[in-house]
Amino acid sequence: MSTYVVHVIIENKPNISDPEGDTILNDLVLKSKNYSIKKIRVGKILKFTIEATDKKKAEKTVENICQELRIFNPLVSNIVIETKTN
């Protein structure tokens, strides 16, 4: 068994407006003349520290938990799962 840290990034789907991201872009980043930045989306990250036999199983377990317990709302959000070995 190894310990993995599985990162779950929850982000709203592209068609869902993100007023917080828009505010950061328009009122902070662009006002500071960082004109190369075209878009900012705000998300949420959850870090699951999990013991598993391999990385794939660790990710699958976390993904199942996220779906079963509605950690993210599939109507408006997507998740991205990334893993780091501890």
Partner: protein, 239 residues
């Protein structure tokens, strides 16, 4: 509810349950309005305990269950009491979710859609006007279609959203119950309240329990009172 030998319905036996979650803060207001203003036999039910089978109506009050952590209503949606709420909903028992109660009903899949952060990202606490879009539910049957209801909102995550397919379904089954008169928070089609397909489960972001008494409503308390009088009418109670 039961009927005595001369045919009068005895309201003391009607049981309305107000569910209390950790972080509910409108439970007492709701209890007060149901019991003191509308004379309904009301009881609190802690979210870890079951609901009796013979309950006649259930209200999920407003508040901040679990401090709105992760997403408003999602943690409370996994409370043991929700299984009983689902069973009662399937039996056709009237269920009302107000504000956080609405968020819990949505996160429990008892109602479709989702409640996102308000467009302004602010907690909004103000008077609004609702327009009645469906007066066939147990909570709106004493209201007129398109009747205006002055009523306060108090929420941070009240922007109702459904995709176009779900919106089509909502309209097809007449599930839009209340809409804001004006643009308030970015809700799709200015929706403020919806019901399930059968109409017995209703969720609304505004607070009727804060608007049903003349003493605390500077505008017009009658329309909000009719939400509770609709329930009384549905339950067949003689007040």
């Amino acid at each position: 509810m039961c009927i005595n030998f001369i045919g009068e319905i005895i309201n003391i036996i009607v049981k309305v349950g107000v569910i209390v979650f950790p972080g509910s803060n409108c439970d007492r207001d709701m209890f007060h309005v149901l019991s003191d203003v509308f004379d309904l036999n009301t009881q609190y039910y802690w979210h870890e305990k079951g609901l009796p089978n013979n309950i006649d109506a259930v209200v999920l009050p407003g508040g901040f269950s679990y401090g709105d952590r992760l997403r408003a209503g999602v943690i409370a949606a996994h409370s043991p009491v929700i299984n009983d709420v689902k069973k009662l909903a399937n039996k056709g028992i009237p269920i009302l979710g107000v504000c956080n109660g609405f968020q819990i009903l949505v996160e429990s899949n008892l109602l479709p859609g989702v409640l996102l952060k308000n467009e302004s990202l602010n907690f909004m606490c103000q008077w609004t006007n609702l327009i009645v879009k469906n007066n066939k539910t147990p909570f709106t049957n004493k209201l007129q279609l398109n009747q205006k209801i002055p009523i306060p909102i108090a929420n941070g995550e009240g922007r109702y959203y459904v995709d176009s397919q779900l919106m089509h379904d909502l309209k097809k089954h007449n599930q839009i119950v209340f809409a804001y008169e004006d643009y308030v928070n970015g809700s799709v089609e200015q929706i403020a309240g919806i019901c399930n397909e059968d109409g017995n489960v209703v969720g609304m972001m505004p607070h009727p329990e804060r608007a049903a008494e003349k003493l605390i409503n500077p505008l017009d308390n009658k329309p909000s009172s009719l939400i509770f009088e609709s329930l009384i009418h549905t339950l067949g109670v003689k007040n």
